[in-house]
Amino acid sequence: MSFVVPKESFNGKVLALDFGSGDKVLALGGESSLPFLSFEGQIPNRPVIAYEIQDCPPDDWPETVRNVYKEVSGDPVGWAKYCQDTLKAKAIALRLVSTHPDRGDRSAADASKIIKDVLAAINVPLIILGSNHIEKDATVLVAAAEAASGRNCIIGKAQEGNYKTIVAAALAHNHKLIAMSELDINLAKQLNILITQMGFDKEKLITDPMCSALGYGLEYTYSVMERIRLAGLAQNDATMQPPILGDVGMYVWKIKETVASETDVPDWGTLQERGIAWEAMTATAMVLAGTNLMIMRHPRAIETVGKTIDELTA
């Protein structure tokens, strides 16, 4: 008897969106199968990896990843150009860290200026992230949406405590929006409902169920992402069909495995290799769970994950 591959087909489909402008527009999502199971459905777009940059020098990043950017990270424009031109980034994520009240408390107007300067210098799509301070993001991201008007960016993250103003700004300036909740599929669904009830098109939404690093709760993130995908595909739950974001770098490059020196933990191998492997491994797990867009830091980790995606889509 010949072997027949069991196939599952779904009624639901992940929503597709694009971001950026001109000939560098990138498309996300659109798949009707679980990740990489292209024999069961359509997978029109591969996962996208964006290089993370900041609006201030990355003093809190460990040396392994800080050193890569030491020549350029004093200036967000130069940093962005370096990612685009030298590292061949397909997308860039600008995190407005210095607007955080504890990290410099720079104004929304300052942030707007940086965004405009960065956008003037690059042509790849841009993701604009706040400092993850609920109140401050509500003003910073509103200004950011205006500053980036016409460039079809992704802005975020809108959370339960601040989504209203951020949604209105993304709507007014026609950007895509990241909706973030904290590792809880029911809250992720609820936030998507609340945002769409404001008249925001679900086809412009990206769900961030919150990332975590390998060894630090990755299995929770993986499980929530997987359940979101299954709700969208198998239950055809329209609120769970937006593409998924994995904000990988910021969760990886602070844990002790990426920071502890070789003198302190000689058994753990080279610090440099360890950090890169940790980010690549975490991101690979995210991709397998169904992530459509990832934000990462180390070029070699990004390259490694890109190759894995190549092999799985070949």
Partner: protein, 262 residues
């Protein structure tokens, strides 16, 4: 859960008058309201329609599909009117559903129409004789209809078996027989047979203030046994809320605080 919106029926005076006058507006409003409330199919019950049945059904189908992007459930005993409706039906949003065939030879023509026009069909598990006594008898009739459907070339996945709900106020013991039949029908095939009920039959003849309560509690019990679809009133918000809540408990939809609004 598939809701077949039951409000467009010749029994309702407003609908009957609009049909006679060929005034599409009241009918379109009812279709749109039911669709927005979550109906998947819109039932179009024109009765026996002995005069101008073909023309009436065609006009109904076209008028309704002008305003809702949904498949229709065509409900008449007049086979030629039904065929006119099937020809006019736009399948872009799903196949039409024929209401209904049964084990009565007079209704076999409906199976032929389902095969010919690639429509789904409701099969009432009753024969020419009296009403079925229990779940086992309903299953026996279902099996006969399934065999007949195969002869006519109707796929089993296009059939919704209907146990025939009887009113609780006169035939109380039948309520449980029908629930059991829903469970047993599914076992007649793999993948399981689809099932449907005319929900409000359960509360026929009871005081008006009790009807919605009886309907929705009964719906929950039927859903628990795996009911696929119900001909019901989607404008009854209490009923729809109970349906959505049951779907949450059964893990068919993902819970969120606003689940009732979806």
């Amino acid at each position: 859960m598939i809701i077949i919106g039951e409000k467009i029926s010749v029994i309702a005076k407003k609908v009957r008058e609009a049909m006679n006058a060929r005034d599409p507006k009241p009918i379109q409003e009812l279709a749109l309201a039911q669709w927005k409330a979550g109906a998947y199919f819109i039932d179009v019950n024109i009765g026996p329609a002995e005069e101008n049945g073909e023309d009436l059904m065609k006009w109904m189908v076209e008028s309704i599909q002008q305003v809702v992007r949904a498949p229709l459930c065509l409900d008449t005993t007049n086979a030629s009117a039904l065929e006119a409706g099937l020809k006019a039906h736009n399948n872009e949003w799903g196949k039409a559903l024929i209401n209904s065939t049964s084990n009565d030879p007079e209704r076999f023509g409906m199976l032929e129409l389902a095969a010919k026009h690639n429509a789904e069909i409701i099969a009432l598990t009753v024969g020419k004789g009296g009403l079925p006594a229990d779940a086992e008898e309903r299953c026996g009739i279902a099996a006969e209809i399934m065999a007949r459907a195969a002869e006519f070339g109707v796929a089993l996945e296009d059939i919704y078996l209907d146990p025939l709900i009887l009113q609780v106020c006169t035939t109380q013991d039948q309520a449980m027989h029908s629930i059991k039949a829903i469970k047993m029908f599914q076992e007649l095939n793999d993948p399981p047979m689809k099932t449907v009920v005319g929900l409000s039959n359960i509360s026929n003849g009871v005081p008006k203030h009790l009807r919605s309560l009886l309907d929705r509690v009964y719906l929950t019990l039927l859903m628990y046994e795996g009911l696929t679809a119900a001909i019901a009133n989607p404008l009854d918000k209490d009923l729809m809320d109970v349906m959505k809540t049951t779907e949450v408990f059964m893990n068919k939809t993902l819970y969120a605080h606003s689940y009732l609004e979806m």
